[in-house]
Amino acid sequence: MSVIHRVAYGIKHILELDKPRHHLMVYADDTFVVSFPGSGDTWTVFLIANLLQLKPPVTLPDVERFIPAIDGQTRRFFRAMPRPRVIQHHESFDPQYKNVIYIVRDPRDVVVSAYNSTHEWTGADGGDGFMSFVTEFVTGEKSDIGSWGEHVASWIATRGNAPRFLLLRYEDLVSETVRELDKVARFLGRQATAEHLAEAVKRSSVENKHRLEQAQSAGAKKTTSFPLAKEGGWRTTLPKAAVCEIESAWGPLMSTLGYELSETGAAKCRATEVAELERD
């Protein structure tokens, strides 16, 4: 970073106009919605925002004020937010965050979503370009927040059994939205009636969100893209080699989370287990 950049950052910092990222003053009653990028968090956060406020209806720019991303608003904004705050972020385990809602999604869908957000999807035979993307996705080599497996394991191993940790599967949020949102409401200490939950879900429906996006895209400074909520889409789009690579890397972790492995992946996991038993 050049001196000019550092001075500019310094002035912003004094005026509290810098994004907090690692300088957020964390309060004990803050709740963090955490996920690996591409895990359906945009929609989930919209859903939670609708749970927290029904009237007036939440719009997309609203979401970034209700449940701001940690690098989405200034420090001044975070300081002025009414407590208890709900904040979104994508970092792997951080001990400072005491109340955490963690959203996990099948990595075979995450990889497609991650690829879509940076490349043009050209179909299942994405070729070598896609396979090297998958390899990078699996090793997490170039990532500051780690691979999908590191991210998920860092949170679940440290907090999996903690009372102030709520693990949600994106797949369940899509299929059993009311039930899962009720868990969120309880976690946030909100009493939500069945009608309230149903209304929040209705407002966050995929169609509704697409409509909002279209209506607001002209005026809003920044609209967030919304990955198609097609779960298990990997079954038709993901090349076998990619499925195999992902399952070989994270098979046991995926099974624990209830993500069924394909035949080859399952066989490999069984082989590992047997080998371990034999060594014992």
Partner: protein
């Protein structure tokens, strides 16, 4: 406000502490542990291993294996690569090559308790009974940004154990057979060496030697400068001190909090049986071929 101005000025001059967020390179190796787990001793061992002609002391250790929580961004940027960097950070994905040291938490708590008294982070008379539950929760000053012992260890093991860029060392195994454990480090760092050379490194890095150096150098070392001297930085360098020093209910509390993890690491539980550490996050079953020395 003054604090803020100072931070900004330090940042502009590149003098702010590196801590967690500094520029890393793919060829960096990180020496990581929870505080008071044998990290400084290991720094001396590795320092003497990689610089055989330069006796490592508190005066030059920061140049050879710099400490992220004591040095500035600018200082770290000027260390010639490939760097070996000391850190107490919980899991950080940017650390691609990691030597992680783990120590029996029943000993760590006693050592950290004394350390925090030395640094005035807790009152000198602060009772151990009150300290312990806060230590277990990771809720003592100084630990707030680092997590509890269990979170720290699990954050690294669950993400990196069994990966080629990760070497797990147990402090107790290092005490029992330092030459063997240092041999693993040399192999990890790709250093060709001999048993004699390793033994010489171990000798130069002995606790007695470190204590002697601390006596004359503690006023000049960034970590101990200006701190009280009646509690030394270099600890007893022993394992199992908890057996005589920790009250039974304290042992009980620790084993209740971290039993499965302790057992997986080979630390024998004395107060209660522990459930196995749940797979699939961590497979540690056969990680240890060097037995821990029997308690005397």
């Amino acid at each position: 406000m003054i604090h803020e101005l100072r931070y900004v000025l330090d940042h502009i001059l590149g003098r702010d502490l590196a801590e967690r967020y500094f520029k890393t390179f793919p060829d960096d190796t990180f020496l990581v542990s929870f505080p008071r787990s044998g990290n400084t001793w290991t720094r001396f061992l590795i320092g003497n291993l990689v610089r055989p002609n330069e006796a490592i002391s508190f005066l030059n250790v920061e140049r050879v294996i710099p400490d992220t929580s004591a040095l500035s961004n600018r200082y770290l940027e000027r260390i010639p690569r490939p760097r070996i960097i000391k850190s107490h950070q919980f899991f950080d994905a940017r650390y691609k090559r990691v030597i992680y040291i783990v120590r029996d938490p029943r000993d760590v708590v006693l050592s950290y308790y004394n350390f925090q008294r030395k640094y005035g982070e807790i009152d000198d008379q602060y009772p151990l009974e009150q300290y312990l539950p806060r230590f277990i929760a990771g809720d003592v000053p100084g630990l707030i940004g680092w997590g509890s012992w269990g979170e720290h260890v699990l954050s690294w093991l669950a993400t990196r154990h069994n990966s080629p860029g990760f070497l797990l060392l147990r402090y107790e195994a290092m005490l029992a057979d330092p030459v063997c454990e240092l041999g693993k480090v040399a192999k990890f760092l790709g250093i060709e060496t001999t048993a004699e050379a390793l033994a010489a490194v171990v000798e130069r890095s002995s606790a007695d030697n470190m204590r002697r150096m601390e006596k004359t150098q503690s006023d000049k070392w960034v970590v101990t400068k200006g701190r009280r001297k009646d509690i030394p930085f270099v600890g007893k360098a022993k394992e199992g001190g908890w057996q005589s020093l920790l009250p039974e209910n304290a042992i009980d509390e620790i084993e209740e909090a971290w039993g499965p993890l302790m057992k997986a690491l080979g630390y024998q539980l004395t107060r209660r049986p522990a459930a196995p550490l749940l797979p699939p996050y961590i497979h540690l079953q056969n990680a240890y071929t060097v037995p821990i020395r029997q308690q005397v």
